[in-house]
């Protein structure tokens, strides 16, 4: 599964994109998995209220299913316009 990071999430993780092998069934499960990897993940995911997520390029909740998902993206609240 491709995992993408944007803005300060990208800066904390250190890469814009990585491929992760996971059996996580929800976004929250994936986050829990990533947080155990390294400190930089813990730093990026410490406050989930400051994060937004998209599954296959659609905005989603943290309890969204990853069944069949090919791409998950984490980022701060958007500031378009």
């Amino acid at each position: 599964m491709d995992v993408l990071y944007f803005a300060w999430v990208r800066e904390r993780i250190g890469v814009p994109k990585e491929t992760v092998t996971t059996t996580a069934s929800t976004v929250a499960d994936l986050v829990a998995e990533l947080r155990t990897k390294e400190d930089r993940y813990e730093a990026a995911f410490a406050d989930l209220s400051a994060l937004r997520v998209a599954v296959d390029q659609e905005l989603a909740d943290f309890d969204a299913s990853l069944d069949g998902a090919r791409e998950v993206a984490f980022f701060p609240p958007m500031t378009g316009g």
Partner: protein, 150 residues
């Protein structure tokens, strides 16, 4: 309906005139233009990051929802990414309708959604450092008025 996510500058004058040209069926045209504002400390530059695989689709969905909710003859959204200087135009929307109420409401709806739901992030660099622009609570709460009751 036209949605353009682009790095290049655009010409508001050219875009507005082209959008309005020969709309003999539409009496009202509203445009909104967002400009890089200078900030305390002196803005050196603003970098806009986006999520290429998602941006175009997300904006097209927002524009289509505007067309579904209001009686619109046409909708235009242009949004830039990349490095911008103070005074440069970041983005614009334009809406055309028979009566002004639809054009105004649809333009405000589009802006409220673009602010909080289109995958863009802004980083400002000033003489004293750089930082990501925080989302404003009032931008998030601005969406409430468009919540559907059904």
């Amino acid at each position: 309906m036209r949605v353009s996510v682009q790095k290049a500058r655009f010409d508001l004058g050219h875009e507005a005139q082209a959008f309005a040209a020969d709309r003999t069926d539409m009496g009202a045209i509203v445009t909104f233009t967002g400009i890089v504002r200078d900030v305390a400390g002196g803005l050196a530059e603003m970098e806009i990051e986006h999520y290429p695989a998602m941006t175009q689709k997300a904006i097209e969905e927002i524009a289509q929802e505007a067309k579904d909710r209001w009686s619109l003859g046409d909708v235009l959204v242009i949004h830039r990414y990349g490095m911008l200087q103070a005074g440069e135009m970041i983005m614009m929307v334009a809406t055309a309708s028979r009566h002004r109420k639809d054009a105004f409401e649809a333009a405000e709806f589009l802006m409220d959604y673009l602010k909080s739901r289109a995958p863009f992030w802004k980083k400002e660099t000033t003489e004293t450092g750089s930082g990501w622009v925080a989302a404003r609570d009032e931008d998030e709460s601005a969406l409430d008025r468009w919540a559907k009751s059904d």
